[in-house]
């Protein structure tokens, strides 16, 4: 688009030219503001990568990313166990959080009377605002002792982390799913009801299938929250260095290992290995965004 002052240059001479000049400068400043986001993501990538280089060089890429042997006191920094911990807790949380979140969204969109729906919606917005240290503290003083007495284990561990993550990811999944359901054309519901379908049949056979892509995006963004959650998980997961396949095993995720070790890690290989964990987190997040872009393109094509 040409500058709006451009046409005036010929008519008004010098004054118009000054005006066009000013318009262009302002446009440039605004563009500068907008490009802060590009600059930020670049800087973050560069700095996290630069800081993790020493570990990759000195420890070796294989021993750093593909080993489960993590013993900083003897110079072993394998983070595979923590990558597994992140994936284990995240998928566990989605196993509970996705049905709960989507179910709540359906409840809001289809089942709940308006006043109750409004209360639930406010509640979910409030839940989204509760700081993660508060949820972590709640998990530490209530959830962990509860699991200890019920299961006879330490209480700390993967399952406690999963429950905390469900609470953290629930608002994201519910809000986005509810938005998707709301955006479906009303004719869909009416047509289904007119054919004599019950409410459940409409939900199950018409609404959920047509909202598929949107619901998938909601769950992926919920995963994003779960992968990145730090403080709340660190308070309940037990912070052991070993990888575990047990639901009640104590272990670490990428985020919790960074927080647990950072204070004691002097500048050097150990600290650099923690930055390498942040690099993996960054790549995981970018991966999720690319999947979302892909899914939403599918959605646009299918419409």
């Amino acid at each position: 688009m040409s500058a709006p002052g451009g046409g005036a240059t010929g008519l008004l001479g010098a004054k118009g030219a000054r005006l066009a000049d000013r318009e262009n400068w302002i446009r440039l400043v605004m563009f500068g503001c907008a490009s802060v986001s590009i600059l930020s993501i670049l800087l973050i990538f560069i700095f996290i990568f630069k800081e993790s280089l020493p570990a990759m060089r000195n420890v070796g890429v294989g021993n750093l990313f593909f080993s489960t042997n993590y013993s900083p006191q003897v110079g072993k920094y394998g983070m595979l166990g923590f990558i597994w911990g992140t994936l284990f807790t995240t998928f566990g949380a989605m196993l509970i959080g996705a049905p709960l979140g989507i179910g709540t969204a359906v409840f809001l969109d289809q089942v709940a009377p308006e006043r109750i729906g409004r209360v639930v919606r406010r509640g979910i917005e409030l839940l989204a605002g509760i700081p993660s240290v508060v949820i972590g503290w709640f998990g530490l003083i209530l959830l962990v002792p509860f699991l200890r007495t019920v299961t006879g284990t330490a209480g700390f561990g993967v399952f406690a982390a999963v429950l905390v993550l469900v609470v953290m990811a629930l608002p994201t999944i519910t809000t986005l799913s509810a938005e998707t359901l709301k955006s479906l054309p009303l004719e869909l519901k009416e047509a289904s009801a007119a054919m004599g379908a019950t409410r459940w049949q409409t939900i199950y056979k018409v609404l959920l299938p047509s909202a598929r892509e949107g619901l998938l995006i909601a769950v992926i963004l919920g995963m994003g929250r779960a992968i990145g959650e730090t403080m709340a998980v660190q308070m309940v997961i037990g912070n052991a260095r070993a990888a575990t396949f047990s639901l009640f095993g104590r272990t670490s995720t990428l985020t919790t290992r960074i927080v647990t070790d950072m204070a004691e890690a002097p500048p050097g290989d150990h600290r650099s290995a923690l930055f390498a964990m942040a690099l993996v987190l960054l790549l995981l997040a970018m991966f999720l965004i690319i999947i979302i872009r892909f899914v939403s393109r599918e959605r646009q094509l299918s419409r």
Binding site: A3, R22, I26, R27, M30, F31, C33, A34, V36, S37, I38, S40, I41, I44, F47, I48, E51, L100, G103, T104, V106, F107, V111, I116, V120, G123, I124, E125, L126, L127, G129, P131, V133, V134, W137, F138, L140, I141, L142, L170, T174, R199, W200, Q201, I203, L221, G224, G228, E229, T230, M231, M235, T255, I258, V259, L282, A285, M286, I292, R293
Partner: protein
């Protein structure tokens, strides 16, 4: 009939799912407030100095740090967000650049806050030699909050009807004059509302600030380049390292206070949002 019965069962299940969500929230609020409210409202706790070793410390410098951090972060990020939102909404509505910027914003929005924390540590604290300080945390949080701040600002700007812009342009106003004299004033209440929710996130943020701002101080910070200790980070450090005999009471009280602060901000945002809506409706009616 089978279909009828399935429908009835499904209805019960959906009510139960909605109920579980509300129950989780209610349980957390009641437990956290129940354990910490009495401590949180004690003036000696609210306005006292924290102790490094002894019991009976307060959290006044932490509260000040939190407010200071919020103010600095908004001061840095709001102008950038408004500028960027104007660019995206007024200059480049549907361009390649716009879509790439949106990709970067989406990526920033999904990055874990601990990644921001380490980035802030590497850039502001270490490379810039600022050491742990409010400014380092504010710059980090400004980037962290940019996506949501920008999105809601942009929405406020887009809500300004195109007829306003057309009317202004018809009177011979240039694009910038239109934006400055017409678009921004009309969008301003929406922009103000848009800043309230990110404030709640800044108050509750801990992972991004413990390595940029600091976790313990005894005196109220004054200079933006002073080390400080926002409340959320301080609570986390207290429960991790204990340090004082009454750490449990401090964490309980701090958590309750944090919850109250976040709730006040939330209701403020709702209230402001509703006022804004009402005013818009009224405005549309009289015009």
């Amino acid at each position: 009939m089978k279909a009828k019965r399935a429908d009835r069962i499904a209805t019960v299940v959906f009510w139960a799912l909605g109920g579980i969500t509300v129950a989780i929230l209610a349980f957390i609020i009641l437990e956290v407030l129940g354990r910490g409210l009495i401590t949180a409202l004690n003036p000696r706790f609210l306005f006292g100095k924290p102790n490094a070793m002894a019991s009976g410390g307060g959290i006044f410098p932490m509260i000040v740090s939190t407010f200071y951090l919020v103010a600095l972060t908004i001061m840095i990020s709001l102008p950038i967000a408004i500028g960027a939102a104007i660019y995206m909404a007024e200059y480049a509505r549907k361009s390649k650049v716009n879509s790439f910027i949106r990709f970067c914003l989406d990526s920033l929005a999904t990055l874990p806050s601990i990644v921001f924390g380490l980035f802030g540590l590497a850039l502001f604290v270490t490379a810039f030699r600022w050491s742990y300080c409010l400014m380092a945390g504010a710059c980090t949080l400004a980037i962290l909050n940019l996506p949501i701040l920008l999105r809601s600002t942009e929405e406020a700007i887009k809500l300004v009807p195109d007829t306003y812009r057309e009317a202004s342009m018809c009177l011979g106003a240039s694009r910038w004059t239109t934006i400055r004299q017409v678009v921004i004033p009309s969008a301003l209440p929406g922009i103000i509302t848009a800043t309230i929710l990110p404030i709640g996130r800044i108050v509750g943020e801990s992972a991004a600030i413990i390595y940029t701002v600091g976790v313990f101080i005894r005196n109220v910070p004054t200079n933006p380049f002073d080390t400080a200790a926002p409340l959320a980070g301080y609570i986390w450090a207290r429960q991790a390292e204990h340090g004082v005999p009454d750490w449990r009471a401090i964490v309980n009280g701090g958590a309750a206070l944090l919850l109250i602060m976040v709730f006040i901000i939330y209701f403020l945002a709702r209230y402001a949002g509703r006022k804004y809506q009402e005013k818009k409706l009224l405005g549309a009616g009289t015009r």
